[in-house]
Point group: C2
Chain length 542, copies 2
């Protein structure tokens, strides 16, 4: 049965293409829900051609397919099942599904999910049922790295056995001589298996931030010519664009492709954007050098950074949603990126989330008894291969997610006090200071004389993490601050229910029913506490 917001597939028998299995001439014109779309089909192997589309309204859709296969007919689309809401799109700095439902993402990372055994993948899906996450970052291509050495069963494309050798240094410095991939010849077994995973994730309501390129490679995927890169994208876009839960991540750590120039990335970006009929979210993830999220086709910020105070700054700079897609991983590895505590992971999630950003988790917990290189290569770390979640952060992320999901709308950053003043322009700051009573102007004028470095140091170390939904909800996260008394700002003249949230112990306690601006709350005086204030009675929403 075909439903609104679910990928619908039309299949046609035909002859196996004589030449490229990618650049096949199949086009469908699909009319329904008040729209006509022209969509490319793809060759799926075994003399089957497919065209996929994503209906946005119930009713009858009429299709006409032309090219190497032809056909026409209708498909009846049933109403959405209420569980699925369509492609995630950008609404200012927020995210909404096609049906208008807001989504706050709580991501996790299983880079090489596509290339693990069935058994391990089952375990991964079971872990994902914990309910902490509604987004996953994963790669199309296999990954070569510490703890990521397994040879995949299938590649996205067959090797071009008759071509000359491709010689390169892999990301760990090893010299490689391999046959290049033939991007005219997709391995349909790979794609089918891959889609089984996408379908499963879709059923679980999990968005897939699909990483199209990455530099952790010993097979040659990161050393294809640009022509091959684009042909791979052609195939991926024909096959996958109708999946409602896909986001395009041009790369994981694009900047580590140090022999690619920026124009090459721009070309990839333009290609995806021009050939994706459903305008999925599109971004590019960095290691050291942040991508220019201001570019028109880039829908959102997908940043690797450990500096959690930047959501408002990035929103202001780019006017787009801000995803902290890498902020280190809960674990015990020797690397800085792989050894933050569960508490710190949760801390970062709260900082990013309350200020209106979207954070992504990862876990790299290595068992103590692992000693040899072989054991290390074979180890199953969540961030690489999936498996069991061993960490203590997912339960807390779920707790946070539940709080955010009961809110009536997405949070915007609420920047107050010193942080606000540090982020003001000179003009804004001086008019604010001039509006103060005379006896306070002197003190605050000192702020105006701070240099850029002093402001940066101050902001980065003293940022106050808070978000709000208009006057309706305020959510303050105190982090490592142990204040036992707290006077959170709320809208003047309005009354709020005040709730103390222990983000680690996962307790919530309503401590006041009519908190007003200027009142003082008593807090537990310990680390990792949040305070939520909800207007009482809740205002009517438009």
């Amino acid at each position: 049965m075909a439903r609104v917001y679910e990928m619908t597939e039309l299949c046609f028998e035909g002859k196996e293409p004589a030449g490229s299995h990618v650049e096949v001439d199949v086009e469908a014109e699909i009319t329904g829900g008040g729209k006509t779309r022209k969509l490319k089909g793809f060759y799926a192997g075994d003399q089957i051609y497919k065209v996929r589309f994503l209906p946005e309204q119930e009713g009858t859709y009429r299709y006409k397919v032309t090219g190497v296969v032809t056909g026409e007919g209708t498909v009846d689309i049933e109403p959405a099942d209420g569980k699925h809401h369509g492609v995630v799109r950008v609404d200012g700095t927020h995210l909404r599904h096609q049906d208008g439902t807001f989504i706050s993402t709580f991501g996790t990372t299983v880079y090489a999910l596509a290339h693990q055994t069935k058994e391990l993948t089952e375990e991964t899906f079971t872990s994902l049922e914990c309910g902490a996450f509604n987004k996953i970052r994963m790669c199309v291509f296999p990954k070569h790295y510490e703890y990521n050495k397994n040879e995949p069963e299938h590649f996205a494309f067959y090797k071009a056995e008759n071509a000359g050798e491709l010689i390169f240094h892999d990301n760990l410095g090893g010299k490689r001589r391999v046959k290049p991939f033939d991007t005219h010849r997709p391995d349909f077994d790979f794609w089918e298996d891959f889609e089984t995973k996408l379908n499963r994730l879709f059923d679980m309501g999990i968005q897939v931030d699909l990483i199209l390129f990455h530099p952790y490679d010993r097979w040659g995927h990161s050393h294809m010519t640009q022509e091959n890169n684009l042909r791979y994208l052609d195939y991926a876009l024909r096959r996958l664009s109708a999946y409602p839960n896909i986001w395009w991540s041009m790369a994981n750590e694009y900047d580590l492709f140090y022999d690619w120039n920026i124009e090459q990335w721009h070309e990839i970006e333009t290609y995806i954007s021009a050939n994706d009929p459903y305008r999925h979210l599109l971004s590019n993830h960095n290691c050291f050098l942040e991508y220019d999220y201001g570019r028109e086709a880039i829908t959102h910020v997908s940043v690797q950074t450990r500096t959690c105070s930047r959501v408002a700054e990035l929103q202001k700079e780019f006017g787009k949603p801000v995803c902290y897609d890498e902020c280190c991983y809960e674990g015990n590895l020797k690397e800085t990126w792989g050894s933050i505590s569960a508490k710190e992971m949760v801390n970062r999630f709260w900082k990013v989330t309350v200020t209106g950003g979207y954070c992504t988790h990862g876990e790299v917990i290595l068992e103590n008894d692992i000693a040899t290189q072989k054991q290390q290569d074979d180890a199953v770390l969540w961030w690489a291969k999936g498996g069991k979640l061993k960490g203590e952060s997912p339960a807390r992320i779920k707790f946070l997610r539940e709080i955010v999901e009961m809110l009536p709308a997405p949070l915007d950053p609420y920047i107050e006090g010193m942080s606000k003043m540090m982020m003001m322009s000179e003009t804004e700051l001086s008019s604010m200071i001039n509006a103060m009573p005379e006896e306070h102007r002197g003190f605050w004028s000192v702020l105006g004389r701070m240099n850029a470095k002093e402001k940066t140091y101050h902001l980065l170390s003293e940022y106050s993490y808070a978000g709000h939904i208009g006057d309706e909800v305020y959510l303050y996260y105190l982090g490592t601050d142990c204040s036992a008394r707290f006077r959170p700002e709320v809208a003047a003249g309005k009354s709020y229910q005040a709730e103390i949230i222990d983000v680690w112990d996962m307790t919530r306690e309503i401590v006041a029913e009519s908190y007003k601006m200027g009142d003082e709350l008593r807090l537990p005086g310990k680390e990792y506490v949040a305070v939520m204030l909800r207007q009482q009675p809740a205002p009517m929403r438009k």
Copy 2:
């Protein structure tokens, strides 16, 4: 009995000065220990004039006093008692006493210690016997602030009752009309009581970072004319310069004197420097705007900042010792500066200390049952009034101090890996990268393309905290990093005893007797761990 490195006092009877009790004409020429010094004396009240000096060698000192009182004679100076080592001076980025002994300072803060009751002060001294601290930051003038409202028994000077009123806004915004101080008329009761405290601190081996001016004032001390400021300094310098344990801190938060211009501070700096015969340490502490520590008379950095990764940067910029004299306080107040956890306080101490800096503690723990404004004003918070230490950080600071004090020399910052590269100039970085094997150059070259903002964010969030004493000792502090495996860098070809230090639980465990470069250590995989490596056998020291 007079001893080397202890203040020695000569007393002379004379007539009470007819005019100024400060600008009295008393000068001593003191010859001993191979030196002749000309020192000013001061009027101490009750027809007594005093001249104080600080002998640096044993033997007979000859003095000749001229002016409104006269006298000559000799004083026999006994050898130092071994407990005291003389004035602390700067040696590069380190601190040494006059006798050459290195000192690493572990500071605390009791701003208004000079203005509390005898009973409370006794309790404070008892607390200081805990052994965590060998430096205290305290003010000459009383303090007006939240939790600091008590009226002092004595001021440094009498009020000029016949003068016109001084009208100003105090630091809390209150309008004040007061009689100005008459800086010709010291209140000798104040100074005697004050010196009782200095003597007591001296006996306990505690350095006094003496804050000469501060803006937290309802009495007018921060609103004196510059002429009065200098006359006050004249008296303080005559009386106190021979105390071996004094450091001059021009101000606490100098920049909050927003109606003073910078030249006024320079004049004060020059005045102190020119009139202090014993060249005590001299610096100026900031709130938002850091003082120019590069100025010639400034001996060290005395900075308020929460960014603990700056020791090496500040050492490099100024070539002077770096004191983190305010990095927030352990406590539960509503303010950011007064609500860090004990763990975070200890964390900051370790970060600063292992990288070769000197950190200062403070404690602001407010009892839960305090509710009224009056109770709050009367509350005894350590940072303001002293009393009992209630926090959990002092025991850990003592543990750190004991580790540092058994080291053979002061620590220098050891900056490795990414942090090192982030701090390099473009030229340094590119020559480092060019020296790498070809297959690694690409990756590292990406670093060279980071912009200043990216570098700052990276450095501030990923700094690795480590120090070393040449090849002899390496001390790594992992902070919130939970690595269970660790390969600390040491000098190649040398062998080290490796010790794991749990900085919170205060345990030390030797885990290897012959650790070498490239070996891997197993760590507990939890937050707040340090690793110390000491060369075995310990090399001979010059």
